[in-house]
């Protein structure tokens, strides 16, 4: 077993363990911190996939912004996020069965398929190519996404504003 494989297994186990704890923890605040750990594990996986730019973006956007936003929201609704509250609804067992079945089907199909084994050589400069794609081929979607982000943030301020 090579070093990347060992790294993948270690990081994968940590990521999935943290993710399971996120959805099962009784304390929502613990869930939020474990969510940040999950995001960090995914960032390490991006490094394993030769995309350090996306790993940096993952750390900045997900850990730096989204996790902190979620923790803020929990703090602002602290009273109802008390640890003694039941966090599962009545259909949790059905949900568990559905999730496990879905994973069984997906994993079975993935392992049945004969994927080409090795990575192809990275012919292009990924970061430079990404920058060129954003102002070239994908210029319009890129601008649309930036407008969507702006509208969402303005909308969030208006919705959450004290009236």
């Amino acid at each position: 077993m090579s070093l990347p494989q060992i790294l993948f297994l270690v990081v994968g186990v940590i990521t999935l363990g943290a993710a399971v704890a996120v959805v099962t923890s009784r304390n929502v605040l613990h869930s939020a911190f474990l969510l940040a750990l999950t995001f960090f594990g995914v960032a390490v996986l991006y490094v394993l996939l030769d995309t350090p730019y996306l790993a940096a973006a993952q750390v900045l956007v997900y850990i730096g912004a989204i996790s902190v936003l979620i923790i803020f929201a929990i703090m602002l609704s602290r009273k109802v996020a008390a640890p003694d509250l039941v966090q599962r609804n009545s259909q949790w067992l059905l949900s568990l069965i559905v999730a496990v079945l879905l994973f069984g089907v997906l994993a079975y199909l993935t392992l049945q398929t004969a994927w080409p084994a090795a990575k192809q050589a990275l012919g292009v400069d990924a970061i430079g190519g990404l920058g060129e794609a954003f102002v070239g081929t994908y210029a319009l979607p890129f601008e649309v996404v930036s407008v969507v982000l702006l509208v969402a943030l303005v909308g969030a301020i208006i919705i959450a504003r004290e009236r």
Partner: protein
């Protein structure tokens, strides 16, 4: 060399954990965390397929960046809605928010 199928199985597992979180949580913030897990699983798949199948075309990478931006927008709007609901109804338990239910 890590095989592609490892990444796909990990993505599938993360996706299903997120689905379970969305379906079983009573807390609206918990549901939002499940959605974030799902979007991360999708991103792992997109980037893994890009890296192993079409490294010369950057479509998968570009799409992953778009998913990230949309996830940030979704988190901002979702949490603003949760805070607005908490302010008016004094709860974040989704079962208690049934204004539209006849």
């Amino acid at each position: 060399m890590v095989p592609l199928s490892w990444f796909l199985v990990l993505g599938a597992a993360l996706f299903c954990i997120g689905v379970y979180g969305v379906l079983s949580r009573r807390n609206a913030i918990g549901i939002l965390m499940g959605v974030e897990l799902i979007l991360n699983a999708v991103n792992i798949n997109l980037i893994a397929f890009w890296r192993y199948r079409t490294p010369d075309h950057l479509t998968g990478l570009v799409f992953a960046v778009f998913v990230m931006a949309i996830a940030a927008a979704e988190a901002a709007v979702g949490l603003a809605l949760i805070i607005a609901i908490y302010r008016t109804r004094n709860t974040v338990i989704v079962e208690d928010v049934d204004l539209l239910k006849m």
